[in-house]
Amino acid sequence: MRENFRTSLWLALALVLALKAGPELLAGPVALAARQVTDEAGRSVRLPERIERVISLAPNLTEIIYALGAENRLVGVTDYCDFPEAARAKPRVGSVLSPSAEQIVALKPDLVLATVAGNRAESVATLERLGVPVYATNPRSVDDVLASILHVGDVLGEEQAALRLASDLRHRLDALGRRLADVSLPRVLFVVWEEPLISAGRESFLTDAIARAGGQSITATFSAAWPRLSLEAALEEQPDFLIFAYHGSPAEKAAERSLRQAQLKHKPGWREFRAVRQGKVIVVSDTINRPSPRLFDAMEELARTLHPEVF
């Protein structure tokens, strides 16, 4: 009798709970229409099922969005988003480092795409507080760039286009790797900034990009992403090539190269580089600085310059 009483009590309790939870259980699938994804910075982001309005906070992300054919849904870009040409006509939200939260909110985005390396954490925190979902990418290697393309395709619902683009780029990367399989790797110094001398370190995708293009960066093991090194230390290493990035047509790049070469020959300190004396100063397209599909063009270009014998 007592057992029965207890059982019926439990049953009653279960029934009450079920009734209480019922409407919520029914409402469940509707609420789940929003997706929960984890971005490349490890943040958990809640996104609507379909993204209709996206804002890009970095030039490389703008390029990826265009490459995926999702530009119709791109409603805002930064002042630095200069490629493709059409991106310049999109509404601007400010610079990469200090975008205007007001402008972003006014454009009513479903999603803002940001980069860990380029944007400030404060900007992301501000948008988060205002209820704007932010997906942050964080490519630190060439493989990561491919992964970023897939992730952006995934959040934008352009999985097929992203898969095509990424596997296309992957094939080009593999082909490049096969070509360079037997070459010896020259030691290079990539000059991000001349005074003070800044190069790319272990944490930068640039270091990996140089390696894939058949070069061995003398700063590859530096712990900072953009380490500052003394000219003395660089001279001690005597790299085989000095690499500079430049924005311009092939003819302009060639002109820039002769100019650099001539300048460095007379510059105190720099003229002591064996590479300068031997005319081994290289100018490569500045898309080597952008973790976008055009990074692969720049890698091929650099490989061709470093190893003309295998092309």
Partner: protein
């Protein structure tokens, strides 16, 4: 403070109220204009409508992007600007009396470097999240205040020249430590730190911080205002002040602590915004009076207004990109200060 005061001519309660009324009115108009201007312009009448709806509790009838921009972005930013401006201006006026030096500003004693160091340490540890950053900055400021106070004592008394030297040395030592840390930091943190050193209001502060700041600020300004008459006497010299019955040691300690607290609060909320603390008290002296009973409340109101004005410029001149407000106050402040200096030496 039942101390006999040097009676400065012309200060009546009525005059004080008129001056403060004018400044408060200007501050209100400036804020309203500032609310309507920005990367997205909102007509003033729409701002007013939205504010009325907000007060009536009908937030839902405000268009959502206006609601976000006015009450989540611009509004809190303007409030923070006012608090920071008032704190820096009153701190500046206080330090000028305390050190009997017209060049003294809120940063002269190294408080901002201490706060910046605290913030940068947090950036290195990698926790730029809300409670940590302002808290670390405030702890940095507090530690610096304590050290400089200890260094600035001579025979148990706060001695102006010793204090000034202790502050300058501490500030340059802390700046050197910051430079060392910044060169060893990698790129990303460095950019955050640079904004910190410039002074920037673009990151919205959480509501609790605004409340805390507001309450502490009112308390500190109240304390300094309470000893304003003593500060007038103190400017004539410490011995004279003692003869007139002012408790010099107590007044100096109180003013030092309040001014440092205000500076610490301002820096931990917005980084080091320059020139306001130096310029505003001098502007008030020129416009109204150098009586500290006028100087303290007027500096608070004028400082608040100038920061709101400067930040409005920072938001609009190259919109949608935003300038750090510290850059605007420095660009506008330095020439204005030189102008004041010339005018005063001419007249």
């Amino acid at each position: 403070m039942a101390t006999p005061t040097v009676n400065l001519p012309g200060l009546t309660r009525r005059r004080l109220l008129v001056i403060c009324g004018i400044l408060a009115g200007t501050l209100a108009v400036t804020s309203l204009v500032s609310l309507s201007l920005g990367a997205v312009s909102i007509p003033v009448w729409q701002v007013l409508t939205a504010m009325i709806k907000w007060v009536m509790g009908a937030q839902d009838s405000i268009p959502s992007e206006y609601r976000l921009i006015l009450f989540e972005i611009r509004g809190p930013r303007i409030v923070l600007g006012m608090l920071v401006g008032a704190a820096l201006a009153v701190a500046g006026a206080s330090f000028q009396a305390l050190l009997r030096n017209p060049l003294a500003d809120p940063y002269v004693l190294g408080v901002s470097s201490g706060a910046a160091l605290g913030a940068i340490v947090i950036l290195i540890i990698g926790r730029p999240a809300e409670p940590f950053l302002p808290l670390a900055a405030f702890l940095g400021a507090g530690a610096t205040i304590a050290v400089v106070y200890w260094l600035g004592q001579k025979a148990g008394q706060l001695e102006s020249n010793t204090l000034l030297l202790a502050g300058v040395i501490t500030a340059s030592f802390l700046s050197a430590v910051i430079m060392f840390l910044m060169t060893t930091l990698s790129g990303r943190e460095l950019r955050g730190a640079a904004f910190w050193l410039m002074g920037d209001l673009s990151t919205p502060s959480p509501l609790w911080l605004l409340w805390l700041f507001g309450v502490l600020l009112v308390g500190a300004v109240g304390f300094v205002y309470g000893v304003a008459a003593d500060l007038n006497v103190l400017l004539a010299g410490e011995r004279e002040a003692t003869h007139l019955g002012v408790d010099v040691a107590r007044t100096k300690t109180l003013v030092y602590l309040c001014a440092s607290l205000m500076t610490g609060l301002a820096v931990s909320a917005s980084g080091s915004i320059g020139y306001v603390g130096l310029l505003v008290p001098h502007l008030v002296r020129l416009l109204f009076s150098s009586d500290y009973r006028v100087l303290i409340p007027s500096s608070a109101l004028l400082g608040a207004m100038l920061i709101v004005l400067a930040d409005t410029l920072a938001r609009t001149v190259v919109a949608p990109t935003e300038l750090p407000v510290g850059a605007v106050t420095a660009i506008a402040g330095a020439p204005l200060f030189i102008y004041l200096l010339r005018k005063r030496s001419m007249g």
